[in-house]
């Protein structure tokens, strides 16, 4: 949101990564929602959109996380497409306006590492660019329902995690973004062969609107689980949620 050059330091990242379950006051996202829905006629509004129903829905959403983790096949690849199938122009989407996408300074950029990782020294962009990269054309499916096919080029995240000596038995990988967004994913998805640290979009350096300098591209998860402008990565065993997940989106959100 803030349009400035960002230089995220480690303590901030630790604080962010160590964040536990969301503040209880944030849980009541359904309260105050304008709609009562057709069910109101049958059951009364407290059951429909009050705190009781929201707690129950959160429990079921966590159950759905569990189901999806079991349904996830680490060897199953998302469909890839031909160049001709690419959606152009590709849609911008974010919780901020396109003009508010953060400008990250490539010279001062450092990818900070934290948590259960052996080699925690920060990485510069040149160091990251020097790693072997792969290109894939996949469909991005937004939580809103629309989808678009794009081409991303980058380093398989699993390769990077092995290279930095991450504890691959840890439960989560947490990502912190330049403008304050955060997201966490399960380790099996982090190690999926198509999950990548993307540095290019459609053959060009990742433009600001699509997450310069680095986006985590995960073709096996909904779009909001694909963080842009990533400046920090932590391997953890404690659940850290995420920007949208804390507001109510399902955490696993696997495809």
């Amino acid at each position: 949101m803030r349009r400035k050059n960002l230089n995220v330091d480690a303590p901030v990242l630790i604080k962010d990564a160590a964040k536990l379950l969301p503040n209880p006051s944030r849980r009541l996202f359904l309260r105050g929602g304008a709609s009562l829905g057709a069910l109101t006629l049958l059951t009364g509004c407290d059951i429909v959109d009050g705190p009781t129903s929201e707690r129950a829905l959160r429990v079921i959403s966590e159950f759905n996380d569990w189901v999806q983790a079991r349904l996830f096949n680490p060897n199953r690849l998302a469909q890839t497409y031909a160049e001709s199938a690419i959606t152009r122009p590709f849609r911008f989407n974010g919780y901020y306006d396109e003009s508010e996408a953060p400008d990250v300074d490539e010279d001062t950029y450092r990818l900070q590492l934290d948590g259960l990782i052996d080699k925690k020294q920060a990485w510069t962009l040149d160091q990251l660019y020097a790693l072997p990269q792969e290109t894939q054309i996949t469909r991005l499916i937004c939580v809103e329902g629309w989808s678009a096919i794009g081409k991303w080029t980058g380093v398989p995240l699993g390769d990077f995690l092995r290279r930095i000596g991450a504890d691959l038995t840890a439960k989560y990988v947490h990502f912190a973004c330049a403008e304050g967004y955060s997201v966490s994913i399960d380790m099996p998805t982090a190690l999926h062969p198509q999950t990548q640290m993307a540095f290019k979009f459609d053959g060009e350096t990742l433009p600001t609107k699509f997450g310069f300098p680095m986006r985590i591209r995960i073709p096996t998860k909904l779009g909001f689980k694909n963080p842009k402008h990533v400046v920090g990565m932590a391997v953890l065993n404690n659940y850290t949620g995420g920007y949208w997940e804390d507001k109510g989106y399902n955490w696993f959100s696997g495809l």
């Binding site: 996202f29 829905g37 069910l39 829905l57 079921i60 349904l71 199953r76 939580v143 329902g145 109510g248």
Partner: protein, 210 residues
């Protein structure tokens, strides 16, 4: 005394045989009714986040407050709908009820009964026997129910269940099928509810069994 017991027993037996809807049908029907309302209300909420067509559903008839709430309701209601649906379909097939009640459906009978219904000459005296139009609608809605669940699964898991998604012509195809299946269900519901109100004993049968 012996005679009275026998008479009572046979009366009870006769009443049981006269049941239009056995208990399992009535229970699963009303659970399904609740699940369908949840799925439609929350589905419309999700639709509104990125409308497929140039219209949105009025927020007052959607469920969940905003997209996240809509998805939560939808993926919770999903379990109720699917588990209840499996129980209903299994018992309906195992007891032979579907075959008995819904088969056969002859095109000629549909034409005849539809004409009779439109001109107000169709008899609804015996709610235990369906006319050809009812048979067609009920068999059709069962099939639509299967299609909407499968297309929903195809949208939810287009990678893990990619074969299923392929069957619907990919993710965007599944999205369209899901929408049109919803439209068919809403259309069915309108007819279904109007008919239940026009023929109150059919509604009573779904509550009391006869």
């Amino acid at each position: 005394m012996g005679d009275v017991t026998t008479i009572n027993q046979s009366a009870a037996k006769a009443a049981k045989e006269e049941l239009v809807h056995p208990l399992y049908v009535r229970i699963t029907h009303w659970i399904n009714a609740l699940a369908i309302l949840i799925m439609i209300g929350s589905g419309w909420q999700i639709y509104n986040a990125s409308p497929l067509f140039p219209f949105s559903f009025p927020p007052s008839v959607t469920l969940g407050g905003w997209l996240a709430g809509g998805i939560m309701w939808h993926l919770a209601g999903m379990w109720v709908l699917v588990i209840n649906g499996i129980v209903y379909l299994t018992l309906g097939l195992a007891t032979g009820r579907f075959q008995r009640k819904l088969m056969p459906i002859w095109p000629r009978d549909i034409g005849r009964d539809l004409a009779a219904a439109v001109t107000g000459r169709l008899s609804y005296k015996d709610p235990s026997r369906y006319n050809a139009v009812q048979k067609l609608l009920y068999a059709g809605i069962l099939l639509t129910g299967v299609v909407i669940v499968l297309s929903g699964l195809a949208m939810w898991k287009p990678v893990q269940l990619w074969e299923l998604t392929l069957l619907f012509g990919g993710y965007e195809g599944a999205r369209l099928v899901h929408f049109f299946a919803m439209s068919a269900i809403v259309l069915f519901l309108i007819i279904h509810i109007i008919m239940a109100l026009l023929v109150p004993k059919s509604l009573r049968a779904m509550v009391k069994g006869q």
